[in-house]
């Protein structure tokens, strides 16, 4: 009943897509094009939270605003790199949709899956729909054997310790009911990908209805960024933190 009252007069849902960016001059244009391509009959807005990119990302966003309209593309920049969690909070403040999508700007998350997120949520009335790379229909491209091994090992460990209720804990391609995102994000304190884990674990603990859709993930960055010992230590520390505090 409450859902019906919250909707706009024409009964359609509006989706706010928050995309944090840092030096994504080219990718931001590509991703905006693909979002418009795949969400033709959907009421949405794109909120770009740019952390003062030196490569001119904001200029490109302004060009996109000129093309698509400032009501469809919102630029809500910040002065410098301030972290992912706060980027979402910042974007949330300006979101006028009933639902919020979070996704990465580097095209590892493909907008073509957005309709399946929306459909799943409408079918199940879930509070959160999260993309999973680890089920049939999903997948990853661009990882070598070692990377897959660490990912799988990390996942098994997290499943055993935390019982998180989702198959992909560190994924950051998700659709939230706006009120649910606001509630969960206020209780999260971690940084980086542990933050993504904390979000979904806290949501599970709070009893929110979470559904998953398969997504494919094309990692174009992995070759350049290494998954070293310090990342593994951070991950283990994050697991213990979540084990003890959720």
């Amino acid at each position: 009943m409450a859902d019906v009252k919250e909707r706009k007069g024409d009964g359609k849902n509006k989706y706010s897509i928050i995309i944090p960016t840092y030096n994504e001059r080219l990718n931001i244009a590509l991703i905006v094009y693909l979002i418009f391509k795949h969400l033709r009959d959907v009421d949405f807005e794109i909120i770009v939270v740019d952390d003062g990119s030196p490569d001119g990302t904001q200029e490109i966003v302004k060009q996109l605003q000129h093309l698509y309209g400032e009501d469809r593309i919102l630029l809500r920049a910040r002065a410098k790199k301030l972290g992912l969690g706060t980027a979402y909070i910042h974007g949330l403040k300006h979101a006028t949709g009933d639902f919020v999508v979070i996704m990465d700007a580097d095209l590892s998350h493909h907008p073509k899956y957005l309709p399946s997120f929306i459909k799943k949520q409408l079918e199940t009335n879930a509070s959160i729909v999260t993309g999973t790379r680890y089920v049939k229909g999903g997948g990853v491209h661009g990882w070598n054997l070692m990377r897959k091994l660490t990912s799988r090992g990390a996942n098994v460990l997290a499943q055993t310790l935390l019982w998180p209720g989702v198959s992909d804990l560190t994924g950051s391609f998700r659709l939230y009911k706006k009120s649910v995102l606001e509630d969960v994000i206020s209780s999260c304190v971690s940084k980086g990908y542990v933050f993504q884990m904390e979000m979904i674990v806290r949501a599970t603990r709070k009893g929110y209805h979470i559904e998953e859709v398969p997504i494919t993930f094309v990692d174009r960055v992995f070759g350049t960024s290494k998954l070293g010992g310090s990342e593994i230590v951070e991950y283990l520390k994050g697991l213990v933190y979540l084990l003890l505090t959720t």
Partner: protein, 89 residues
Amino acid sequence: MKHIVKILSMVVGISTFWIGLLQAAIVPRSHTWLLPIYFVVSLGCYGLLMVGTGLMQFPTCPQEAVLLQQDIAEAKDFFKHKGVDVGSD
């Protein structure tokens, strides 16, 4: 209830059962003493099995990289005459 409390209660429950087995001596004591070790080892083996099978069945999608390149070309083409600068970075 916090998750850690749930896990600790399970551990306490299993330990109580184990101590009970030791005292009742239904199963020969020498076997019972080794039960925790069997348990930990089986848990470890199970974990390794999950990692191994997961790794073998790891879903990959090489065709997605190709599709992505096509999408990128399509997008660049669209923007060329629309005042959005998509030259290479």
